[in-house]
């Protein structure tokens, strides 16, 4: 029973949160929190960016690594995309958008390739290698932006960031598509299976003939690619690129992965879990604003959730005998 609760806890917590805010909204304001199109939409938009970063992060963390550079890689991609589109939009807005999207994605892959090479080939610890890239991407982003934000006046871009399809904001739709692709990749393919193996027992993965170096390189490129997509959605939503676009999102992305049940020691985690984790964070942040709590409590609440989720994860391992305490 306890094991079950521990395994299902992110779902449980998500439901409890919704029940809490729903009751509060009904009692205090006589309105619904959950069954309210505007709220649902806002939460989804709120969750989209940290979730995108969290998707790539999930792969990296399952394999036993971590990517600290995602926030500023996102900012760098946003800025470069805005720069490209700024100069091309007067010529052809459609072409500018197509090129901007391509460039944002490709720009993301470069830091990913460097991260992956550092970690896989040069054996730099992931924490240090990606921390270095955190600084490099941050500086490069601000340099490319000239220290300010880069506005783009392109109607197509605006539509992509603010339009809706069947009542769902386009950025949310794009995020859902990426979620589905990543979920499939992780849970259904050999690539996903090897990612788990790598985090479970690296030596076993090597001996099983898995090309561990190439695999690690690809993991960091996936992470950076997701950051690139987050960056391009940021530029689309705000019609401007900013180097600091993803600055506050790094910790949210790691938090989403951890709340979703992944272990920072590698070997476990799921995309669904990360989605739940990102939703939990977004609901706490949005819900507290909704019920008029001072915004700084958000940090306290999210921080407590992270700590509790790690404690629950550890107790789960204790319950199933995975951790043998010496003390």
């Amino acid at each position: 029973m306890l094991v079950f609760v521990a395994a299902a806890w992110p779902w449980l917590f998500l439901v409890l949160l919704l029940v809490f805010f729903e009751s509060w909204a009904r009692l205090a304001y006589g309105v619904s929190f959950v069954f309210n199109g505007f709220n649902a939409q806002s939460i989804a938009l709120f969750a989209a960016a940290p979730l995108l970063l969290g998707l790539g992060q999930t792969f990296v963390i399952i394999a036993g690594g971590i990517d600290l550079s995602v926030g500023f890689v996102m900012g760098l991609a946003a800025v470069i995309m805005a720069r490209v589109m700024q100069s091309l939009t007067p010529i052809d807005p459609g072409l500018a958008l197509a090129l901007g999207i391509t460039v944002a994605f490709l720009v993301g892959l470069v830091p990913g390739w460097i991260n992956g090479t550092l970690v896989s080939r040069l054996r730099v610890p992931a924490f240090i290698g990606t921390l270095g890239m955190y600084g490099v991407a941050r500086g490069t982003g601000f340099l490319a932006a000239g220290g300010t934000t880069v506005p783009v006046n392109n109607p197509w871009l605006f539509e992509m960031g603010n339009g809706k399809l069947l009542g769902v904001p386009i950025p949310v739709l794009i995020t859902i598509l990426v979620v589905i692709a990543m979920h499939y990749l992780l849970s259904q393919t050999r690539f996903g299976q090897h990612t788990y193996a790598l985090g479970g027992n690296r030596a076993a993965a090597v001996r099983a003939g898995i090309n561990v170096r190439r695999h690690t390189l690809l993991l960091y490129m996936i992470s950076a690619g997701c950051a690139g997509i987050a960056g391009l959605l940021y530029t689309a939503r705000f019609s401007a690129g900013a180097a600091q676009a993803g600055e506050p999102l790094l910790l949210d992305s790691i938090a989403a992965v951890v709340i979703g049940g992944a272990s920072l020691f590698g070997g476990s985690g799921t995309i669904i879990g990360t989605v739940i984790g990102a939703l939990i964070i977004a609901i706490i942040q949005y819900g507290l604003v909704f019920i008029d709590v001072e915004p700084f409590w958000q940090f306290v609440a999210v921080g407590i959730v992270i700590i509790v989720s790690v404690l629950i994860d550890q107790s789960r391992e204790r319950l199933t005998g995975e951790i043998k305490d010496e003390g």
Binding site: Y184, Q188, T189, Q193, Y196, N201, A205, I210
Partner: protein, 250 residues
């Protein structure tokens, strides 16, 4: 390919690491259905020798004939493709994956999702895992088959590792300290497994520090000391004292 050629014939194998000679002029033969034990103190070159045969290291000197054909493995995968499977001391299993996933690690079968996307065929993996454990008469409750292998006992995990080798039609099985981490009843189970494999015509090389193990399952014993072969005994002539004398020299 001559039918009477031994499955494995090593001649003059040597390997250096920097200035250290880890292995020098080691040669031996091994036939199908034969069990060879490697004995030797720490640093005698046992691990180096099996790593050369399993394709992890390339020898600096000497040659290996496998089925009468010279071997040139660049990596462990090539060795596995040739039917040489190795089971390492620290259990080369991914603890977080289930039995089927471990049996197929690195060689997962794929099906098509919607006739289009490649997708791991978990059903097939599970069925094959079940079947291989059955042929080896390994007792693992079906409910455990879908759990991470860390929930299995040491002996069951060793059995999974052996089962994996057999599933992939190992013709030569290399085992590094297969019983080191096990309790006495589980050690006995692994010995039984070795016997069963030999009857099926699998050639086996195993490293052990356990003289009881060696005397119980080996047909021949090859003793190494400081990278050189110092003796090769048949089981009939081997005694624990003799093996120890050769291992420590004197």
């Amino acid at each position: 390919m001559k039918a009477e050629a031994p499955l494995l014939r090593c001649r003059g194998l040597g390997k250096r690491f920097g200035g250290v000679r880890a292995l020098e002029g080691v040669g031996f033969e091994l036939d199908r259905g034969e069990v060879l034990a490697l004995a030797g103190d720490n640093g005698a070159g046992k691990s180096t020798l099996i790593k050369i045969i399993s394709g992890v290291y390339r020898p600096d000197e000497g040659e290996i004939l496998y089925d009468g054909v010279p071997l040139h493995f660049d990596n462990p995968r090539a060795a596995r493709d040739a039917g040489i499977e190795t089971i390492y001391q620290d259990l080369a299993l991914a603890d977080n994956l289930d039995v089927g996933a471990n049996v197929f690690l690195g060689r997962e079968p794929e099906a098509r999702f919607l006739g289009l996307l490649p997708r791991i065929d978990r059903k097939r993996m599970r069925a094959a895992a079940h079947q291989v454990l059955e042929t080896l008469e390994i007792d693992i409750p079906p409910s455990k088959l879908t759990e991470p292998v860390r929930n299995l006992s040491g002996g069951q995990r060793q059995a999974v590792a052996i089962g994996r080798a057999i599933f992939w039609k190992a013709r030569l099985l290399i085992m590094d300290e297969p019983t080191a981490a096990l309790g006495v009843p589980e050690q006995r189970k692994v010995r039984e497994l070795v016997h069963r494999l030999r009857q099926q015509g699998v050639a086996i090389i195993f490293i052990s520090h356990n003289l009881q193990d060696i005397l119980a399952v080996a047909d021949r014993i090859l003793v190494l000391r400081r990278g050189r072969k110092v003796g090769e005994l048949s089981r009939a002539e081997a005694t624990g004292d003799e093996i120890v004398r050769l291992m420590v020299g004197g």
